[in-house]
Point group: D3
Chain length 210, copies 6
């Protein structure tokens, strides 16, 4: 029995990028059809692509900063910059007020190259044997964060600091440790044991990140 | 001027697996030469490989359990099971006493399939939008942890519980959140801000995981 | 001229997994929409995924054994365990009565790690220079079968034997040599020449495997 | 509000192969549904595939030669030979009249192996340090052009020459230098500076390749 | 204690290609140093590469045919054509006398494109649901054998037939079913059960393929 | 007969990066041993790695500009920034005087994301159907150049312009069209035919780029 067209509609609004994994695509590029921007299953006929599809102007300035961390970021993936679709890269602009931090986090699917556009930033990562590699980097310096390793940053200067990060995946993913651990709803008993925390402290952490 | 043979020796003892990334290898297999087990640069002539190179007997029983977490694991990669070298897989046996936990952790380079050999285990992972997927799984059940996502386990039964995990990388890597965050030496100021902890609590956590 | 909705329906029922090849996916996971389980083109909106999507309970016990070989297996791919979709892994439970065999076969798209859950099994593989690597492995032991190489098993104990196999592909494929060679309809003349068989023996083999 | 079926139709005619990148496919093969040959999103139900899907007869003879270069080629990708879809290979037949040339070009997504079916051909490529590797190759000889490097050919014999090229991508892509540089519409000022050409010569080149 | 130079020598003669798996290499090419042709660990300084490294002349004519099958083949991998190293391709020339056969076999690591240079050849493969795809192909026709699937050929014409096969791996591997199954030393009991053969017939097959 | 140590020395100085292709590495990172910086076969023992290995300070300012094109670039690969080794990324800083150009070129092994640090730049690429995608981009804007496609830039402002480019390969490669075509030594006859140039003009071009 044929489904109703309306049903198809629901089907399509829920189609997500299954298969644009990050190996070589097998065409020059694939601009998703704008009228189905949430559906990365269909490319515009390449003759309809324009230069605008390959240029992005949305990171000229920063977003409003997050009150708590005095930090803001603008991640740019194929969702907002369709030209990136199937090309295996994406990027991010991150801004820090004096003292602002980018909490410990990692990208499950990419290595990151971070270039300091402005300011002095304490920046580092932890390898899988728990050694930290961290130092203050300045305007024009570059730090690399190996794929999947936890990293973090803090503006240690007295003015705004800005970083441009590039990734070798079109969708690197982002796991922020504080909220993933304390804000996701893992059983209290497990967290209390894992971190050796009192219920009181755990409770405080939960409230903060949920 | 030629180097001294002794210098070469040093060179070799420090050679590690650079390039056995996890795509198809281009030979059937590659058994590292046992006399250089820390050097995965050279395969035994394949005519010298034996069936013993492809069989592993080291996870028939558990190791001594770690006092704190009442948990122990035996990771099996090509370092201890040379036959795995270049084949893109590895595995692990994990044992939990009643109440024992496997702290929140992730594998930067692999998806994991966990099969419950024995017991009742609260098991779950957190996706990159901070949603937790967790439940109690029992003997004979299987849970999958997508590549790079943070996951955790706790024995909620009243006897020993055991899991067999398989990975789609010959070296999945392991990042344990508590020690990576609090035991690696990240600047106090950053951690205090990131987790909203008092210096006192942070100090306690540091001691615990360093 | 627009097609009828009914035609679309046919289109969709014939859509198969083209592109979920086994490299990194570019999202955390992709649960196929259950109402189109034969169509791996669309993921559930990830907010609709539940822990049940990532847990599988179908291999707690064995299936009925195949009369001839006193062997049965339950292959678990994303077709029956949707959570595996795009994650690059799958697994299988295999049960053997005393004397039961798993005929020589290979998986075109994966390496296999076989863990003995129960029993004593003569297990081995053949490399591409026709050398066999085989021995009897027991409960708790693991054997690895390199990608694409022919392997086989036989229960040499006097009770049920069970194996858990894991694969580094979400769809490893399976080619059983006896039926592929003698049951697929290859020209008699070619088979007679290739194996140096009499027409009579070939005829017997054909009947058996068709 | 549901879209009209007619709209869907447009959607589908514009769906292109996004994701059949060249890693292992996760099924044996995928024959695109012929009634949607421009839509490589759906495979025929494999039970409907026939041997004809895997055999190609379209390069038994050459096409008409291009007047200017006395050269013609028949590229064979999954567009004309559906059986190649997802298998990571394609090929080409190239014919040269005496003196005919295949202009400097490259394939962004594949290495090429060129086998001389007939004739004597001056053939070569340039590596990324601008060194040329070129010589005359004859019937039965093979030359390899590494992935992405510029290469070229000229029939230096006095009769027809023919080459069979194979690629390790199902869609290698083709960039012909003369038309890409002078026929695509790059700003005159840039080309004049890049090649040190007079406007007059540039103008002549433009006309020729546009 | 430093090893003796002589020991190193042994080390090196046993180094094989571990890591040149088939993804993109990260240089234009890598010509193995000829004085260590069995050691694919070191590339010639690229400035020492010559055009001869990229041209192969060894398949202009056939080898002596194998008595039994009236068949011969010349596989060309980086072992004999060093220029192929790290480029992800290789090829083969196969010659058949009238009635000659290429026994059922498969390549664990590559798809094959077979082009008929001469003659009429019954050619086919079997998919993983045991369906055969076979027909007679003629001069100028092409058949594709999907990665890892079993295939076979027989010259059904009355003169020599020749095929040129190309692979998308630098080392596709080759498993010949008759010798892998009956010539490798798999336990008799298992083979008797797997194929339903009498000990007498099995014995005959063993003799033939060992 | 053992080789002399001195011979080994020669061997090692000519070892290049064969196998660090760009898929996932199978360790966190691999810092090449500095005393053998031209040998990417050996990683420092990871316990000897320091944060300095992961920070690069060499692109804070530009190099001297090239007279002809009023352009300079500083490519940063693992050769100068060892921490990038096996991580699948690299980057470049490019500076343009007013009117300066980056001649048409392509990277055989990577997609590039170009971020404008300063100035107004006419920037574009040509796809494999010879369509150009070009426009003037300004400070803070980003343009993506799909893998393997020819691209180019010109400073159309009246002051210095600077670009930061990131690549998804540790060694993207660089083919500059003018010198690859006219400076590499391709036979005159072929170039004359391919571009329809007079011998006089060709001669001029040759001189310029050799």
């Amino acid at each position: 029995m044929p489904l109703k067209t309306s049903t198809w509609f629901i089907l399509f609004l829920n189609i997500y990028l299954i298969s644009a994994s990050d190996p070589d695509a097998s065409q020059d590029f694939c601009i998703p059809r704008s009228e189905f921007s949430s559906i990365f299953l269909s490319c515009k006929n390449s003759s309809l692509a324009t230069v605008e599809d390959f240029v992005f102007s949305g990171i000229k300035s920063s977003k409003n900063l997050n009150k708590t961390n005095r930090f803001s970021s603008i991640p740019v993936t194929s969702t907002v910059f369709p030209g990136l679709n199937t090309l295996g890269m994406s990027f991010v602009r991150a801004d820090f007020e004096a003292g602002g931090i980018n909490v410990p986090h990692y990208h499950p699917r990419a290595t990151e190259i971070a270039y300091v556009l402005e300011g002095k930033i304490y920046s580092g990562f932890v390898d899988s044997s728990n050694r930290v590699y961290a130092k203050v980097i300045e305007k024009g310096e570059v730090m690399v964060f190996p794929k999947g390793l936890m990293h973090f940053q803090m503006n240690v200067g007295d003015s705004i600091a800005t970083i441009l990060g590039s990734f070798n995946s079109q969708n690197p993913g982002l796991v922020k440790i504080p909220s993933a651990v304390f804000g996701s709803g893992i059983k209290d008993e497990l967290l209390v044991k894992a971190f050796g925390l009192s219920d009181k402290v755990l409770d405080k952490l939960r409230k903060q990140f949920t």
